[in-house]
Symmetry: C2
Subunit: 304 residues, 2 copies
C-alpha cells in the first residue's frame, strides 16, 4: 500500500462547520478558535464566507473577522470563501490574502444554488479568478459536487477534468475537489483524484485538496483511497461539525481528530497535535452548547 | 486499486449488537429479526453466545433460540459464540451446527477476560476446536484483539500468525480476525490480513473474515484496506449496534447498511438488499426504543 509521507490539513470549522449552526459565534470567539487551531499546529484555516448576511447570518461578521485575523496571516494561510463577484469585491476590500472560488460540476446543483447553468458559471469563475489574481490574492479553485450530487447522481469525470483544466490555466494556486453531498465512494475518489493529479502535472504544485463529508460514513475510507491516489491535502472540521441541523446526529465534514488519529497510526505526518485538537472539540462544544458528532470526540469527551 | 468481485457478510446484530443493550429482546423478537435478515439476503448470522446468563442476561435464552432457529439452518449458516468448555457443551446439547471459538492475541486482555494466560488459553482453544470438530460442528476460529488492545497497544503480528496457524492445523472452517477495541488502522489491517491470507494458502478456503468496530471512525477505511488485502468476508450489525451504553452515541460494530452501500457503489456484490436492511434498522430501533448510531441510518431514518 503506497502512501504519502506527510499531508497538509485545512481546518474549515469556522466556515463549513458553522454555517448551519443556530448559535452564532462572536468575532472574539472565532478569533480565539483561530488562535487555538494555530497552537495545535494547523497552518491553513478557512475562516469565513463572503455571502449574503441575511441568508447566512453566521458569516455576517466576515469583514470584521478578516480584519482581526490580519496579524495571523504571517504564520498561516487564512482564506475566505466567495461565491460571486460581489463576494469577491467584499473580500478584496476586507484585505483578504486568499480566497476560495468554486463552481459546481453538477448542472442541477449549479442552477439551484446560483441560478447559472454550467457554461455561465464557468465564465463567472474565470472572471473572478482573473480579478483575484490581478489583485495579488492566492486562489484556491474548487469543484463542488466533483463526485456527483443527490439530484443528478454521478457527474461525468470528464466534466470535472474540464473544470480543473480551466482553473489550472487561469493560474489557480491550488485545486479543491469537494464531495459536497457526501456520496462519493473510495473507487470514484481514487480514480478522479488520480486523473486530476496527472492533469496538474504530478509535481505537487499546485496541490490538490479533497473536501469530504462523512454523511454516509465513508469519510475516512475516502481519505484512504485519496492517499493512495497521491492526494496530500485534506479539509476537515473539529468534531465533524457541519451536519444538517434538521437531522439529529447527522454527520458533517470529516472530523479533524479522526483524520489525524488515522494518519498518525499510519505514520503519515501532519504536524498537528491530536491532544490539542481534542481540547478544541471540548471548547467548540461548550461554545455551541451541544455535543459534536465525531466518534472519537464522543469516545473521549462525552460524559460517561 | 485491486478489489474482489464479491464479499460475504455476516450479521452479528443479535450477538455482539445486543449483548450490552438494556432492553432484552424476547425469543420471538429475535426469531423475527433472523427472518428479516434472511429476507434481506443475509446468509450468515451469529445469533447468540453461550455465556453466563447472570452476567449477560441478553443471551440467557441461547438454548431456546437455537432450538427455534433449527429450521433455518438449511438456508443459512447460523452460529453461536462460545467462550469456554461449558459454553461448548451447552451449544452441543442445544443442537447448534456452527460455533465460533476464539482466543485473544493480547495477554492482558486474555487474563482479564478469562483468567488465562495466552499459553493456557491456546490449550483450551485446541481442546474445544477438537471436540467441536469431533461432534461434527463447523468451527469459526477467532482471534480477539488481533490488531492490539487498549491495555497493551499493538500486539506482535507474529503472535496473530502463530494463533491462526494453530487454528488452521486443527481444521478450523474459517478464521475471524477481530478488532475488538476498534483501534486498528488501515495499514495494520492491510498487512496482517495479507499475511493471514498467505498463511491460509490464498485459496479462499478456509475463508478469512474481519470483525471490525467503528469506535474511532475508521471502520469503513479498515474495510477498504482489507478488501485490497484480499479479505472477502466481513461481520457487521444493523445500525452499527454494539456500542458501549455508557457513552452516548458511541460507535459499535461497523454498520451493515453503510458497509453494503459502500460495496454497492464500488460494484462489489454482496447479494444483500440495502433497502431491506434499512427497514430492519427501523424495526430494530422500534424494538430497542432508541435511535441507532449509523450515519446512514440517521440520514435516512431519523425524524427530521
Amino acid at each position: 500500500m503506497i502512501l504519502p509521507e506527510r499531508v497538509v490539513l485545512e481546518d474549515q470549522s469556522l466556515r463549513d462547520g458553522l454555517q448551519r449552526e443556530q448559535r452564532i459565534l462572536s468575532v472574539e470567539e472565532k478569533v480565539e478558535m483561530v488562535r487555538r487551531l494555530l497552537q495545535a499546529g494547523i497552518r491553513r484555516i478557512q475562516v469565513t464566507a463572503f455571502v449574503n448576511p441575511a441568508k447566512v447570518p453566521q458569516m455576517a461578521d466576515a469583514e470584521e473577522l478578516c480584519a482581526r485575523l490580519e496579524p495571523f496571516s504571517s504564520c498561516a494561510e487564512i482564506s475566505a470563501l466567495v461565491l460571486n463577484k460581489k463576494g469577491l469585491e467584499r473580500a478584496l476590500r476586507a484585505g483578504c490574502r486568499k480566497v476560495e472560488i468554486s463552481v459546481s460540476a453538477s448542472e442541477t446543483h449549479s442552477v439551484r444554488n446560483t441560478g447559472m447553468r454550467l457554461g455561465e458559471a464557468l465564465k463567472e469563475l474565470e472572471d473572478m479568478i482573473r480579478e483575484a489574481k490581478r489583485e495579488g490574492l492566492a486562489v484556491r479553485a474548487g469543484v463542488q459536487c466533483a463526485f456527483g450530487c443527490r439530484m443528478e447522481g454521478m457527474v461525468p469525470p470528464s466534466r470535472v477534468m474540464e473544470i480543473v483544466s480551466r482553473e489550472l490555466d487561469l493560474g489557480a494556486d491550488e485545486i479543491a475537489l469537494a464531495d459536497t453531498t457526501g456520496m462519493a465512494d473510495p473507487l470514484a475518489i481514487f480514480e478522479i483524484s488520480r486523473s486530476v493529479i496527472e492533469l496538474a502535472g504530478n509535481s505537487g504544485s499546485p496541490p490538490i485538496f479533497l473536501h469530504l463529508h462523512d454523511t454516509e460514513g465513508k469519510g475516512l475510507a475516502n481519505v484512504l483511497a485519496a492517499l493512495q491516489a497521491g492526494v496530500t491535502g485534506f479539509d476537515a472540521t473539529v468534531g465533524g461539525l457541519g451536519g444538517c441541523p434538521f437531522v439529529p446526529g447527522a454527520a458533517g465534514n470529516i472530523p479533524m481528530e479522526e483524520l489525524i488519529l488515522m494518519l498518525n497510526q499510519m505514520r503519515i505526518e501532519t504536524g498537528v497535535d491530536l491532544g490539542k485538537v481534542m481540547d478544541l472539540g471540548r471548547y467548540l462544544s461548550s461554545l455551541l452548547g451541544k455535543e459534536l458528532s465525531s466518534r472519537l470526540y464522543r469516545l473521549n469527551c462525552v460524559e460517561k
